[in-house]
């Protein structure tokens, strides 16, 4: 597959850009934040996204999706990044659907992927337990009791926690933190006895929360895949998730850069526009070059998912590490080049640096993925 967008993809990109700029812009994110929205996104806008087929964009047609693949979903996430659009695209469409696709039985896929495609169900992965992404360190325990499992432990940074109907909880049915064997994935409905959902206020104004599980009893049928054998599928789903987040960071960084470049042509000091100063011009040119390079690795990684390439881990860590690096540089420069106005809450540029750091952190930041990239390269 050539590293270019085809006609269908270009049209999708155009229509997504238009829709999100009108319905899910930075101004809408600010309004959601200021209104204290618990769900963190607009249900009306999400409903429209579902009607356009976005909820099932990467889901195969057999399970009610559009079958556009991850390159298609990546285009949506890139545009969502440009507009900082709040929606369950990340929690449900990118992460949960990928994990179900990796681990679920045919029956589970039919049921859950169809429910995601139709917009009937929101699902979210509950994985992280400490301040850093460390999936192998998972300690939340699940003990078999008769035909049930009983889950005990805590999860944090669960996306769209307030809105999710069902959580996919990663738990340990065997082994010790650090072991690949013994990790399992359980479907836990939001209303289950013993599950407490705690909303947390995060820097990006998006809805995330913590889960507290005390004696949560679920039937063995709620296992996604085999007991104790979730690691491989989880790893692949996390690779896909990181590639999707890289696409979001690409859109976010491109937009932050373009806004900054426009400001350089508008702001006057010393009797001329500040964009005429070479000290700023070269930094802008370097960022532009970095963004062009970043675009290539994101596209290559999305294609790797759609082509079912075996070296997905390398592509995922390369894309995520690079986009973390570029997003950090561009958002920091965006604030600096906007000067005092960039420090105010009134100006929108601050929303970009806040969401950037959250998307960077999710499922492993720059340091995590650069280290993994070196390991995968054998050194």
């Amino acid at each position: 597959m050539a590293l270019v967008l085809n006609e269908e993809q270009l049209m999708l990109k155009e229509s997504a850009a238009g829709f999100l700029a009108e319905k899910a812009s930075v101004a809408q994110l600010r309004a959601l934040r200021d209104s204290g929205s618990e769900r963190g996104f607009s249900d009306d806008v999400w409903r429209e996204m579902v009607e356009m087929g976005w909820s099932g964009i990467a889901i195969p047609e057999a399970f009610g999706g559009l079958g556009y693949g991850y390159t298609g979903l990546g285009l949506l996430l890139e545009q969502a990044g440009r507009n900082l659009s709040a929606s369950p695209l990340q929690s449900t469409v990118l992460v949960a659907a990928s994990l179900i696709g990796e681990l679920g039985s045919v029956q589970q896929k039919e049921q859950l992927l169809s429910a995601i495609s139709s917009g009937d169900k929101l699902l979210s992965l509950a994985l992280q337990e400490s301040a850093h992404h460390a999936p192998l360190r998972t300690a939340l325990s699940a003990k078999a009791q008769g035909d049930d499992y009983v889950l005990d432990g805590e999860k944090i940074l669960v996306l769209d926690a307030a809105a999710a109907d069902t959580f996919i909880v990663i738990a340990r049915t065997a082994g010790e933190p650090g072991d690949e064997q013994g990790l399992s994935a359980f479907l836990v409905d939001a209303g289950t006895d013993g599950l407490r959902i705690e909303a947390r206020s995060m820097v990006d104004s998006r809805s995330a929360g913590a889960l507290c599980l005390e004696n949560v009893r679920v039937p063995a049928g709620n296992l996604l895949g085999e007991a104790g054998a979730a690691w491989q599928g989880l790893t692949r789903a996390l690779d896909i998730a990181n590639i999707g987040l890289a696409a979001e960071l690409l859109g976010l960084s491109t937009e932050a850069f373009e806004r900054t470049n426009a400001y350089l042509k508008e702001r006057r000091q010393f009797g001329r526009v500040i964009g005429s100063f070479q000290g700023l011009q070269h930094r802008a040119a370097q960022m532009f070059a970095e963004l062009e390079l970043a675009r290539s690795i994101v596209l290559q990684a999305l294609h790797a998912v759609d082509n079912g390439e075996p070296e997905l881990a390398l592509q995922a860590s390369a894309a995520k590490a690079k986009l973390c690096e570029v997003a950090q540089r561009v958002t920091n420069e965006a604030i600096q080049m906007h000067g005092g106005i960039g420090m105010t809450d009134e100006h929108e540029i601050g929303f970009f640096i806040k969401r950037a750091r959250m998307a960077q952190h999710l499922f492993g930041d720059y340091n995590y993925h650069l280290d993994r990239f070196a390991q995968l390269n054998g050194f």
């Binding site: 005429s276 532009f288 290539s296 050194f379």
Partner: protein, 393 residues
């Protein structure tokens, strides 16, 4: 069997028969590259034989039209030829500025007579070319060049000086930017002429670099003569050709940024060692190498993407400037890491134990990558102004 498969089999058989064993061993360095010319530098007697055999089929420049001595091969056939050569480790038979620089310019801007006159000699490696661009006072600001060409009816008389002329001391002819008119702006009045270096009015003096080598020269013109039939394009339109070739040159130089065969990380495992978990023993070095390899991978993806976009008729603005800037910076990083990874071995200057100081000399030579063909700073200016639309000071 498809035509292409037939071509592959024929090519394989021909290469097996005609490529000398000595030309199937990897090149050790620049000294093993064959560039032809009236007085060719020969590291091995088979070099000329190999070049002559390949040139007879036009395969030294397989993609040029047969009418000009080239192989007349399609893109697919060129790829097959290159794959079959790689298969047996065959060296490129001929590498020259004639092939990489002048040829493309003549194909684009030259007259039919000029193409017929010069291209076949490039294919056969008979004439070696050099490029006369920079002057002592026209480096980054190339358009301010002052070497003067006076119109004498059927020829030009040329006076002035060029500098950084690559391999001028080994070249037979020069393609040269000269000023034929002073009346307009500095970009006007520049002309692109070709002339023989073997004449009394031309003097060449090699420049010794920090690497100890002398790939560049100063070239002096004192009433040198250029026949008017060797003016390429129209008089005063040379800047267009110069820009075309600079773009071409940038893409060539940025190719230095491609990933090396053995990864730096693998090499470091051998020289620095690993800890119990298999990680490189020095974590600071490990991070530096990981960052470099990541950027190399991303650069490779970008080369592929821009190639695909060009085929699809889409284009990245100022792509050559991005490539030149990024590729040369990457190559400098690779050389610095080479020094870090090999330690004392990379600091030797002469002698067998240091392979003649190859590593230290390559490292020093790489510093010029971000200067020649337009400095990194000039590339950033081009991106800022032409792509980002930022105004002049």
């Amino acid at each position: 069997m498809s035509d292409l498969e037939q071509f592959r089999q024929d090519t394989r058989a021909w290469l097996e028969e005609n490529c000398p064993e000595s030309m199937r061993v990897p090149v050790r360095g620049f000294e093993d590259l064959y560039s032809g010319g009236r007085n060719p530098e020969i590291a091995h007697p088979d070099q000329k034989l190999w070049c002559d055999r390949m040139a007879e089929r036009g395969w030294t420049v397989p993609h040029w039209p047969k009418a000009y001595g080239g192989g007349g091969l399609s893109n697919e056939e060129v790829k097959v030829l290159s794959q079959e050569m790689s298969r047996i480790g065959a060296r490129r038979a001929l590498e020259s500025f004639g092939i990489s620089m002048l040829g493309p310019a003549l194909l684009q801007f030259g007259s039919e007579e000029q193409k017929l006159d010069h291209l076949p000699k490039i294919v056969r490696g008979e004439i070696r070319w050099c490029q006369g661009y920079s002057e002592p006072n026209a480096g980054s600001d190339l358009a301010s060049l002052a070497t003067k060409a006076e119109d004498k009816g059927d020829h030009y008389v040329i006076n002035g000086q060029k500098i950084w002329t690559s391999y001028a001391d080994k070249a037979d002819w020069i393609f040269c930017l000269v000023r034929t008119d002073n009346s307009g702006s500095k970009h006007e009045g520049i002309s692109f002429v070709l002339f023989d270096m073997d004449q009394p009015g031309v003097t060449v003096r090699p420049i010794k670099l920090i690497s100890g080598n002398s790939p560049f020269c100063e070239t002096f013109f004192d009433n040198a003569i250029a026949d008017k039939k060797n003016l390429v394009g129209e008089a005063g339109n040379g800047w267009t050709i110069a820009k075309y070739l600079l773009t071409h040159e940038r893409e060539m130089i940025s190719g230095f940024g491609a990933a090396p065969k053995q990864s730096v990380g693998q090499l470091a495992l051998e020289t620095v060692g690993s800890d119990a978990s298999g990680r490189l023993a020095n974590s600071a070095l490990r991070q530096n190498i990981a960052q470099y390899q990541l950027d190399t991978m991303v650069f490779g993806a970008t080369m592929a993407r821009v190639g695909d976009e060009a085929k699809a008729g889409q284009g990245l603005g100022a792509a050559s400037s991005i490539f030149k800037y990024y590729g040369t910076e990457l190559n400098k990083r690779r050389n610095e890491l080479n020094l870090a990874v090999r330690g004392e071995q990379a600091l030797g200057w002469e002698g067998e134990v240091y392979h003649g100081g190859n590593l230290s000399r390559d490292w020093l030579r790489s510093k010029g990558n971000s200067i020649e063909g337009g400095t990194s700073e000039v590339q950033l200016n081009i991106i800022a102004k032409r792509v980002l639309g930022l105004p002049d000071a």
